[in-house]
């Protein structure tokens, strides 16, 4: 089992209970949807799995190891094996496509020759071949999200977290982006995607974890389960 959570909960300082008693497990290579209305706890769960925040209760195991007791170098190693894509893309607005994607390699101190080789390859994979020198603010929403995906997968992560990646996109662009995620998943990357896009969830026959008011209310394959 790749990811396991045991009774995890998250209560913020203002007293809001974001998550409560979440027990789930995700295997290597799975494609899992996290569904629920706004405020259900989807983004909070992803932030806990990504170790951006700590749960206030429970345990999280990734690859059999507790992520709550990781040293700083181990957290760094975990992050290098995961990728994250956000609804609002979170690109560096003043940079080009190359600047944004290569940043992920520069931050992990890859050589310039490796960066020059891998960036074009990953851009081709996400359908942005030859667009290295375009300023990201001149791209469409779908293209910007593809840049974000490229940045997330360029280090060949084991797990890809996507927090509402199609939230700001039109249906056609959303569908194209989902195809990209399926393609990445077919090569072995585990994908956990938070979404409230019912159409996409219904169309794909994937495992769906449904959250409501911070609780896991359903864990089943196929269809919107709320």
């Amino acid at each position: 089992m790749l990811i396991q959570t045991i009774n995890i909960g998250k209560v913020y300082k203002n007293g809001i209970i974001a998550l409560s008693d979440i027990n789930l497990s995700v295997d290597y290579g799975e494609f899992v949807f996290l569904t629920g209305a706004s405020g259900a706890g989807k983004s909070t769960l992803i932030r806990l799995l990504f170790r951006e925040e700590m749960p206030t209760a429970g345990q999280i195991l990734i690859g059999g190891r507790s992520v709550l007791r990781l040293s700083t170098p181990e957290i760094v190693r975990l992050r290098r094996n995961t990728g994250v894509v956000f609804q609002d893309f979170r690109l560096m607005e003043k940079g080009t496509v190359f600047d944004n994607v290569s940043f992920a390699l520069k931050a992990v101190e890859r050589s310039w020759s490796e960066i020059k080789r891998r960036v074009p390859a990953v851009l081709e994979r996400v359908g942005l071949a030859g667009r290295e020198q375009d300023n990201v603010m001149h791209l469409s929403g779908g293209e910007q999200q593809r840049v974000a995906v490229a940045r997330a997968i360029i280090n060949n992560p084991l797990i890809l977290f996507a927090d509402e990646p199609t939230g700001d996109l039109d249906p056609r662009t959303s569908e194209e982006l989902i195809k990209l995620f399926l393609d990445i998943n077919s090569e072995g990357t585990t994908i956990i995607m938070a979404t409230h896009d019912k159409i996409i969830v219904d169309k794909l026959n994937k495992r769906v974890l449904a959250l409501s008011n911070g609780r896991l209310i359903s864990d089943a394959v196929g269809g919107w389960n709320l």
């Binding site: 951006e52 992990v108 280090n155």
Partner: protein
């Protein structure tokens, strides 16, 4: 640094002022120390004769002084020779007229000790010789100089300390503002697995550069000022030892630049520890 122009300017300005004052104090203390060492190394004891001592008594006094343990040589300096020496040293040919036409100096014996260890003993013994009115030697002056140095050092440290705190605070604020401005980049670096040191080093470098910039400006200003002041003091007060620019610029540069780098490093480390952690 570009993004926080005013904050950066304020940080560099404060560091410049702090290090300018610190370097000035440091130069002053170095010069005082040099004078103290020179006086301390002086093995001369001066025995001033009582005004009532007649010329016939001088030989007896000289003999008694020569018999004191540790004395290498005794030389008589008449009051006429003394006033001539002063006129020459201070370029004041009309010194006697200025003093009302009367030479106020007494006759004296200049006693050379074999070593500085003997100086205090010789001074004490010479003071006991009949006809000797007063004895002076370097240690007295050295003690006063050291007391002055100590007071100046404490005052200097207090002022430098306050300015250093101000400089460090401003560098910390400038670094924090830079962190805030680059928050998105920092978050992306954390998500993709950058190490703490990779995230922190540009900000640390920025702090060092701020400290170094302030130090370089301060050093230029203080050495320019010192060069002019040293020439003036040497000409006006020839009996005071003044370290030349050639003698002092390297240690002054080391002190100022090292201080600037230290302030920059400390200033930038504060926000890095608080706000930047994977």
């Amino acid at each position: 640094m570009r993004n926080n122009g005013w904050m950066t300017f304020a940080a560099v300005l404060t560091i410049t002022i702090a290090l300018f004052l610190a370097s000035l104090f440091w130069l002053l203390l170095k010069n005082i120390d040099a004078n103290a060492v020179e006086v301390e190394d002086n093995v001369r004891v001066v025995a001033y004769l009582d005004y009532s001592v007649a010329s016939g008594q001088r030989d007896e006094i000289r003999q008694q002084l020569e018999w004191i343990d540790g004395v290498a040589a005794v030389e008589f300096v008449s009051k006429e020779e003394g006033i001539l020496d002063l006129q020459k040293r201070y370029h004041a040919e009309d010194l006697v007229e200025t003093l009302g036409g009367v030479n106020p100096l007494p006759d004296l014996f200049s006693i050379t000790a074999r070593s500085t260890d003997d100086v205090a003993g010789i001074a004490a013994a010479a003071a006991e010789v009949k006809g000797v009115a007063e004895v002076k030697y370097g240690a007295d002056t050295v003690e006063k100089l050291f007391a002055l140095t100590d007071t100046l050092r404490k005052l200097g440290l207090a002022i430098m300390g306050l300015l250093a705190v101000a400089g460090v605070t401003l560098i910390a604020m400038a670094t924090r503002l830079t962190i805030q401005t680059r928050k998105k980049e920092i978050m992306i670096m954390k998500w993709v697995g950058a190490t703490n040191s990779f995230i922190r080093w540009p900000f640390f470098l920025e702090g060092l550069l701020l400290g170094l910039a302030g130090a370089a400006i301060a050093l230029t200003l203080v050495l320019t000022l010192y060069s002019g002041a040293a020439d003036y003091i040497s000409a006006s007060l020839p009996f005071v030892k003044v370290l030349t620019l050639a003698e002092i610029w390297r240690p002054a540069a080391s002190f100022t630049l090292a201080s600037g780098l230290t302030l920059g490093a400390v200033g930038s480390s504060i926000p890095l520890t608080r706000f930047l952690d994977v």
